[in-house]
């Protein structure tokens, strides 16, 4: 089982957008003073326009993996390439949406959406212009002059998403983006994200522990083992697009969910994880 995941669709000729080779990420455990391995030799090729989701037990290292791609966590070994260019540290070619919306509370929605662009040195007027497309797409128009505290959790997360998309990144990284939302809002947001991604065709890497969310949104689901994380399985989701939220009721969908679940469960039992 252990080893390099196969580029799943062998005859897919879209260019590889994000290439990860033998990635090892360790961190210093402050209590014991030892360096612990969070991600153990993970290799992954993600093609342009692909939506890939990583699932696994909580604490398995999938968020660390995503942070490493974002450049927020240093990796000890291996390499990360975006468009065949090695990346080290954060950059505008990747944008992250974290679980917490983390909007600047003193900035109105409009200026929060342009924040990423402003950080990259763009003039405000130009940033506004560039962001407006996504403001419309995520249906935030009319809210530009609200302060974040005036918005619901779901709306705040949409602003967060718009802020990331406005930067027009090569790869969009989603770190459990809906985990902090209530169940109903989460379902609605999943459907919206599904629609959105099919419209903009971005390359997306998402981390979640909601298996149904992973299956609904993804072209491929990568299953991580218990810590230290390596790739247990790489499962293709052949449900045709455009998809709608109600595919969750189909036989095919449920079968995919239970297949993934069995892999995770099997690993948890062996590793004594959880």
């Amino acid at each position: 089982m252990r080893g390099i995941a196969q580029g799943y669709l062998a005859n897919d000729n879209r260019p590889v957008k994000l290439a990860i080779k033998n990635l090892v990420v360790g961190y210093l455990d402050k209590q014991s003073g030892h360096t612990l391995v969070a991600v153990d030799r993970v290799s992954l090729d993600i093609r342009e326009g692909e939506f890939v989701t990583i699932v696994g037990l909580s604490g398995c290292g999938k968020s660390t993996f995503l942070n490493a791609i974002a450049g927020l966590v240093k990796h000890q070994h291996g390499e990360i390439r975006v468009n065949d260019r090695i990346v080290n540290g954060p950059g505008t070619d990747r944008a992250v949406v974290f679980q917490k919306a983390s909007l600047l509370p003193w900035r109105k929605v409009g200026r929060n959406i342009t924040y990423g662009l402003e950080l990259s040195g763009m003039k405000l007027a130009e940033a506004r212009e560039k962001a407006s497309y996504y403001v419309n797409l995520i249906r935030l128009n009319g809210f530009e002059n609200h302060y974040p505290h005036q918005l619901s959790g779901g709306m705040q997360q949409r602003v967060n998403l718009a802020r990331a998309l406005a930067c027009d990144p090569e790869v969009l990284l989603l770190d459990e983006p809906f985990a902090a939302l209530d169940a109903i809002t989460r379902e609605l947001m999943q459907n919206e994200l599904l629609e959105l991604c099919e419209k903009v065709g971005k390359t997306v890497v998402m981390v979640t522990h909601q298996i149904d969310e992973a299956v609904l949104l993804s072209d491929r689901v990568i299953i991580f083992s218990a810590r230290p994380a390596y790739v247990l399985d790489d499962i293709s989701i052949p449900i045709p697009r455009p998809r709608k939220g109600h595919i969750k009721d189909s036989e095919e969908f449920r079968e995919l969910v239970s297949t993934i679940w069995r892999v995770i469960e099997g690993n948890a039992n062996i590793g004594g994880g959880i």
Partner: protein, 269 residues
């Protein structure tokens, strides 16, 4: 989901506000009436306590002969120069102290020791160093007003939301960008609190310095009136100081609310 409900200020809260205003002002009126009665009925030696009516008369007399304006101008000048210097030095220094660990480590204990020393106790030294004129008063105001600013801004830097910094870093922000897009806005409410505290301390500094040694200013006027048993003039001077203090605090509070709009519900100080 697409509609925003703005709750109107409830009428209950409005009524409570009016009631509080009525209660608060009636206590003041009662106090003034009682004071006037103590004087008029000669229950206490009138020389010691004066009376509201006499204070008003003294105030009018001081306005007419121009002594109030002259002394107020001197005090205001001392205050504004000292306070201005305190803001100009204290604001950036507090931020630097909170932002850079090394600076905090090196200057922290020194600042703490200086802060714990009552500045008034240093007054004789300031007079020796800067003379009896305006400079020594400015220094007292500066030394009184600067610490609330330094302390508040230092604290402000420790309240920076780590998640915001994390996001900014993910977008490739430099340390300077993190500073001016996150740390600086975070510091503003703390600056406003610092400004209010500093104004109170600075005002105290001006009066104490003038009472201690000087030949002009409101503090000197109070001190002189007191030593010549003109209690009405003492109260008149105190009234001027109190009104200045309240006006200053009110304006700074207003300014603070302006910077706090994004917080929504403005906390009552």
């Amino acid at each position: 989901m697409r509609h925003l409900t703005v709750f109107p200020k409830s009428t209950v809260a409005k009524r409570e506000k009016i009631l509080n205003l009525l209660l608060g002002s009636s206590v003041i009126v009662l106090f003034l009436v009682g004071w006037e009665l103590l004087f008029q009925l000669k229950i206490v030696n009138p020389l010691f306590i004066s009376a509201p009516s006499r204070v008003v008369l003294a105030e009018i007399a001081m306005i007419k002969d121009g002594s109030l304006l002259k002394n107020l101008t001197v005090s205001a000048k001392e205050f504004l120069l000292g306070y201005g210097a305190a803001v100009l030095i204290g604001f950036p220094f507090g931020i630097i102290l909170g932002w850079f660990k090394l600076v905090r480590g090196s200057f922290g204990p020194f600042i703490a020791a200086l802060q714990a020393t009552p500045r008034v106790a240093l007054m004789p030294l300031f007079i020796i160093w800067f003379g009896l004129g305006i400079t020594s008063k400015i220094v007292v105001v500066l030394m009184s007003a600067i610490f609330p600013l330094i302390v508040n801004l230092r604290v402000a830097m420790t309240t920076i939301d780590a998640d915001l910094v994390h996001v900014a870093r993910a977008y490739g922000a430099s340390r300077w960008q993190i500073f001016h897009s996150i740390a600086f806005p975070t510091s503003l409410p703390f600056l406003m609190t610092g400004l209010r505290l500093a104004a109170g301390r600075g005002l105290l500094g001006v009066i104490v310095a003038e009472v201690f040694g000087g030949a002009e200013g409101i503090g000197y006027m109070i001190q002189y009136a007191g030593s010549t048993f003109q209690t009405d003039k003492v109260f008149a001077g105190v009234l001027v100081v109190a009104v200045s203090g309240i006006t200053l605090d009110f304006s700074l509070d207003r300014l603070g609310r302006h910077f706090d709009r994004w917080r929504g519900e403005v906390p009552v100080h």
